[in-house]
């Protein structure tokens, strides 16, 4: 809610409901957004954008119920202040809080199976190692797939996702078929719902593979980094035809699976930073209705090719904001087109519900929401954790499919340690941050970039990126109601 824009209150003037004009504070946080505006956020993520200095007036009890009637009403209605010692609607606030954290109720949904480490690409930023030969050593063994499925089926979540990753997952399509059929049979036996996803660069895709995917309702997730002069530079391959193969694959997916059967992600390399508008235009030209502008993760091989992959967060934010401007303008011109990262954050801001995106959850999504079964049977706390392992850092290994049981994986000492480091309500720098409700925690990134699970917020890339983006989204909504409407449409679709 944006106070200054509100003009049509349906109730009497607030004074009509008045007790005695003395109010008590409810838990809320505040942060300066610009030279003259600040953001107030309460315990359940409701917000008000107000003039700078308003938080001070509220906290020092300087509000005048008659003179500040509109603001006073908003503060009462949105649980920032109360005239009772214990707010009459405390149970409502508690239910709202419970709803915000309801992603914890069902526990782990996403189960990633690194079905093969083999890949025919040699991308400089690839987050995992890659090998092109030796099927025996770098494909997941069937007994490990079966054991992973058994663990997945023990999840309390009634709807799990089985995601096949690589390397290039399609190079081990037999393994995928085996996994889908085993999991399908098991799920039917115990009444669990299951979604299948294959992450692939689409270079090896065939009609037969896609016909199988259609039959089994398998979703395809691919990568498109932009026009050919960006995609082919980022994604090295013999023949320099990665872009052409990706486009051919996307078209084939749409022909066989339908338009919703394939989605694409971008990865932002240093080269990409110079082409925000061109990358967005490529997605528009290719018929996509959304784009996910992802920065490179500072894990695995990406850290080796530093000149190509390591960039200042400020440069990424400049790139992101330019691309977002183009996307917003596209919407204002009458065409629906969504930026997915913004949409995830906006859902946290504008709706009472949690999101399923593991990077923006508190407690962190690792283990609670995602688990990774590596090609060699090792079990990791998140996708980034297995990338670290490719650099010989096994901090986040939770066990091995050969020997570790469900309880030891999900409730063992390591799981508890990682979870306690992933609660942003209790992290230094985050505990007082007004953006806490919209952000998350990433112990793997903290460990990788700063050497410990807790992290140091003033120099933390996760904090800089999210604070930059979230503040920007609020400023855009505050500046133009038409943009606020566009954002609303993104979380409805």
């Amino acid at each position: 809610m944006i106070t200054s824009k509100q003009t049509n209150r349906k109730f009497n003037d607030f004074i009509a409901y008045s007790q005695d004009g003395i109010y008590n504070l409810l838990p809320f946080k505040f942060i300066q957004l610009s030279d003259d505006r600040e953001l107030l956020v309460n315990e359940v993520g409701d917000f008000l954008i107000v003039d700078l200095g308003t938080a001070k007036r509220i906290i020092l009890k300087e509000l005048n119920k008659e003179l500040d009637g509109e603001l006073y009403g908003d503060l009462i209605a949105n649980f920032f202040i109360t005239e009772d010692r214990i707010p009459y609607l405390l149970d409502i606030i508690a239910t709202r809080y419970r709803t915000k954290k309801s992603f914890l109720d069902n526990f782990t949904a996403l189960h990633i199976f690194v079905i093969s480490l083999r890949c025919e690409h040699t991308c400089h930023y690839c987050q995992v190692s890659r090998v092109s030969e030796d099927k025996e050593s770098f494909d997941m063994q069937k007994f490990h797939i079966k054991r992973g499925i058994e663990i997945m089926m023990q999840s309390p979540n009634s709807h799990v996702t089985m995601e096949f990753q690589g390397g290039e997952a399609l190079l081990a399509f037999d393994n995928i078929k085996y996994g889908v059929e085993e999991a399908e049979a098991y799920a039917a036996l115990i009444g669990k719902q299951i979604t299948f996803v294959i992450c692939t660069n689409l270079a090896p895709v065939t009609r037969d593979m896609l016909n199988y995917c259609r039959e089994k309702n398998v979703i395809i997730s691919t990568s498109l980094d932009g026009p050919s002069y960006i995609h082919n530079q980022n994604r090295h391959k013999k023949g320099n035809d990665s872009y052409e193969l990706a486009i051919r694959g996307i078209e084939l997916c749409r022909e066989i699976l339908g338009n919703d059967g394939v989605s694409a992600l971008t990865t932002t390399s240093t080269l990409s930073l110079s082409y925000p508008n061109e990358i967005v235009q490529e997605y528009i030209d290719r018929g996509f209705t959304s784009i996910f502008l992802r920065p490179i993760s500072p894990f695995g091989f990406a850290t080796r090719a530093a000149s190509k992959n390591k960039y200042n967060t400020d440069l990424f934010l400049k790139y992101y904001k330019t691309a977002l401007d183009k996307i917003i303008q596209r919407n204002l011109d009458g065409y629906f087109f969504r930026e997915d990262y913004a949409s995830i954050i906006l859902k946290k801001i504008l709706s009472p519900f949690p999101i399923g995106y593991v990077d923006l959850q508190s407690p962190a999504g690792m283990i609670n929401n995602v688990i990774v079964f590596n090609y060699d049977g090792k079990i990791f706390a998140s996708d980034e954790a297995r990338m670290l392992a490719e650099m010989n850092d096994f901090t986040f290994q939770l066990g091995h499919l050969d020997e570790t049981n469900y309880n030891d994986i999900f409730y063992g000492e390591k799981a508890l340690e990682f979870t306690s480091a992933g609660i942003n309500e209790a992290l230094p720098g985050c505990s007082d941050c007004a953006l806490q409700a919209y952000c998350g925690a990433d112990p793997v990134l903290n460990h990788t970039t700063q050497g410990n699970l807790i992290g140091h917020r003033p120099t933390n890339v996760f904090c800089q990126k999210n604070m930059g983006i979230i503040k920007h989204l609020f400023l855009l909504m505050d500046a133009d109601p038409k943009i606020a409407k566009v954002f609303q449409s993104w979380i409805r679709n």
Binding site: N24, L25, L26, P27, Q32, E43, A94, K101, D432, H456
Partner: protein, 121 residues
């Protein structure tokens, strides 16, 4: 040993009667990215904070002092909210995460019925 001369140092004195110790530490935590931050006790009522810039970047001292003043006041305000709302916050979270059973809906109370719909019939 080669020593690089420090380009910028600022000392700042805080009155403990105005700003709590936690407030001061939370405030200056955010300066530890750009500065080495040192705390020392001057007397019962005052502590001194020394900031050494980590880079050679030119720093506007007046602007920095203004920012510190604003941040200190903001953290003091946050401390007031935290202190005043701590019990309520604990209540909210305790209620939110309390174990509960699905209660049987009990209609044995009076329901206002302005449009003539009686749910018990």
């Amino acid at each position: 040993m080669h020593m690089t001369p420090r380009t910028f140092t600022l000392t700042y004195v805080v009155d403990n009667r105005i700003f709590d110790k936690d407030v001061v530490q939370k405030c200056f935590y955010w300066y530890t990215g750009d500065y080495e931050v040192y705390f020392s006790i001057l007397n019962d009522n005052q502590q001194q904070i020394t900031l050494h810039a980590k880079s050679d970047e030119i720093i506007d001292e007046d602007l920095l002092k203004l920012r510190i003043n604003t941040d200190l006041n903001d953290y003091q305000l946050r401390a007031i909210v935290s202190q005043e709302t701590n019990t309520i916050r604990e209540l909210i979270i305790a209620k939110a995460f309390a174990n509960f059973d699905d209660e049987e809906i009990n209609h044995q109370y009076e329901i206002s019925d302005p449009v003539g719909f009686n749910p018990r019939v």
